[in-house]
Amino acid sequence: MYAAGIYMMLRRSLVKLIIGLILLGNGANLLIFLLGKIVKGQPPIIASSEKMLGELYADPVPQALILTAIVISFGLQAFAIILVKRAYKVVKTDDLDEMNATDEDL
């Protein structure tokens, strides 16, 4: 997913740039999930009679992290898509190589 995302970002088309960003974001989310060491286990609730988690339990932190990351990346991607649409309207091209107005000497 990382490779695909970076490949897409290196293309000149704006739409492919967005797709690349989305793929990269999802790749990072999956990575958090994997590195949180997936196990089949109990939910991490401590029974009232005990003080510590006894059996094998599923780590809830990566899930919370992914949830946050998904929400954030969703918002950012929505913004990026609107920005691209706007850019297409204003600049009238979706080719990144033709977006040079900022480098011109004013």
């Binding site: 960003l21 994997l34 706007r86 850019a87 004013l106």
Partner: protein, 502 residues
């Protein structure tokens, strides 16, 4: 030690932003709220710095969860000093915006988003949790995206595309680094990480993570070779927005680098060499880039890159004196860069252009203003006793102490480049006899503005110039503070003890 008041600078900015949204339609009320709010925020952050300086590190555990489990906010001297600088720059830019931001932009919610940006910055400085830092970074970039594109001119949109892409990429890399770090240690609290990372045996993976952090923060703080988005976008929005970006956004990346590479990862020989080489190339490419530019704001953008290199060099030398120098320079740079962008905006209001070729004879027409503008320009060069001098002096002392000749040579070279660029700017814009410029219709010139707006613009520049003079003449106080911060950063046991509470 649970002190909930340290998040006040963050919460208060959110409060102002919400308050501003209620008065969406009334421009004047928005301006009033923004300026008074920034003023109160300044007072709050001064109180915070005083408290931290007298009573030691303050900690807040969110929701009362003990340290390695919950989200922690930490105010040590370093973070509270930066929160104070954020508040200073925020106040100046808020006042400046009253004068310079067009009403159409205010209608699209310029002020609320501006305060959300300041909130994100304060939060990033105060947090003690690496994932929380990521969340604050996201708040910063989303509000900066909006500020950058608000108005929707062609150059702005194009600059924004580059800016958005690079920053999203940086966030993904940062997130990846956090994921690997969590997989390695099972913790997100920075103080806890500091202890656990030191114990890991798989040093290869730790170094890979460190490099991922370096790349992620490097993009944000515009380090060579990742800086290309900065000169492509910083000169496109209105000067008030460029001012807050140039003053603070890259510096939050530098803060994160300083924090992560002193607390969590202790750079080994390889990593310090990498940082040092990056610093040297950043100084060179920023300086040379500024030489060939003609647009005033682009010159300042490249100078930002050049001076990020100085701070990075301080980190690369890695002694408490050099880091103290980097911090002093950071303090000075936030004030001066913000001010320079505002100065360029004011010149634009008089002349209607940023091109140095077309500008000229500003000194002849406005001698008093020119003298005022000379203060930030020449303190950037670091002519003693102006503020830039002391930070460089500390970095050089640190580098000489470690017999790091390469850094000494390039920091001096970078200073000469800056000196040359600033003198060129001075002679082109202020001294040279400029051609008569044709009046442009779509620009509202300075003399056509209301007196209140004129005073707001000049007043904010005066305020920041006085602060940078203050840093220069009261250098002993700031220096003592930054040396203390440097020592605390090099020896994080105090920080860890305060957070974990044992």
């Amino acid at each position: 030690m649970n002190n909930p008041y340290i998040v006040l600078p963050v919460i208060f900015q959110l409060f102002i932003a919400v308050l501003l949204m209620f008065s969406w339609n009334s421009k004047n009320i928005q301006k009033l709220i923004s300026v008074t709010g920034s003023l109160i925020a300044l007072v709050i952050s001064i109180l915070l710095l005083v408290k931290v300086n007298t009573e030691g590190i303050q900690v807040m555990q969110a929701g009362g969860w003990a340290a390695p489990f919950g989200i922690t906010f930490v105010a040590d001297t370093f973070s509270s000093l930066l929160v104070l600088l954020t508040a200073i720059a925020g106040l100046a830019v808020s006042v400046y915006s009253v004068g310079s931001i067009r009403n159409a932009r205010v209608k699209f919610g310029y002020f609320p988003i501006f305060h959300l940006l300041i909130m994100g910055l304060s939060g990033a400085f105060l947090t003690g949790d690496i994932f929380n830092l990521y969340v604050w970074f996201e708040i910063i970039i989303i509000s900066s995206f909006v500020l950058l594109t608000i108005g929707g001119e062609k150059a702005q949109i194009e600059g924004a595309i580059k800016y958005v892409t690079m920053n999203l990429l940086a966030s993904v890399i940062f997130l990846t680094a956090i994921a690997i770090l969590y997989g390695l240690t099972g913790s997100l609290n920075m103080a806890d990480l500091s202890l656990r990372v030191a114990k890991i045996e798989n040093r290869g993976l730790v170094n890979v993570t460190a490099v991922l952090f370096l790349v992620g923060f490097g993009i944000k703080s515009a380090v060579f070779p990742l800086y290309f988005w900065l000169p492509a976008s910083y000169h496109t929005p209105p000067p008030a927005i460029s001012a807050i970006f140039g003053g603070l956004l890259t510096k939050v990346g530098v803060y994160a680098l300083l924090r992560v590479f002193t607390l969590i990862f202790v750079p080994d020989a390889f990593l310090s060499t990498v940082i040092m080489v990056l610093a040297i190339f950043t100084i060179l490419s920023g300086g040379i880039g500024a030489l060939i530019q003609n647009n005033m704001r682009k010159v300042i953008s490249y100078l930002i890159i050049c001076h990020i290199g100085f701070m990075l060099a301080g980190l690369g030398v890695y002694s408490s004196l050099a880091i103290a120098g980097a911090i002093f320079y950071l303090v000075h740079d936030i004030v001066v860069k913000t001010n320079l962008f505002m100065v360029s905006g004011l010149i634009f209001k008089f002349k209607g252009t940023y091109s140095m070729r077309l500008l000229g004879s500003f000194y002849k027409e406005h001698p008093k203003l020119s003298l005022l503008m000379a203060i930030p320009l020449f303190s950037l060069v670091g002519i003693p006793p102006l503020s830039g001098f002391w930070g460089k002096l500390l970095i050089l002392q640190g580098a000489i102490e470690q017999t790091n000749i390469l850094v000494v040579v390039f920091v001096i070279l970078g200073s000469f480049l800056t000196l040359f660029i600033i003198t060129r700017m001075w002679s082109e814009v202020f001294w040279k006899d400029g051609p008569e410029l044709p009046e442009k219709k779509h620009i509202k010139y300075f003399n056509a503005l209301k007196p209140l707006k004129r005073r707001a613009m000049i007043g904010s520049i005066l305020f920041l110039s006085l602060i940078s003079l203050g840093i220069g003449f009261g250098a002993e106080w700031v220096m003592r503070l930054s040396i203390k911060i440097g020592e605390n950063l090099m020896d994080p046991t105090q920080y860890i003890q305060a957070v974990l509470g044992n």
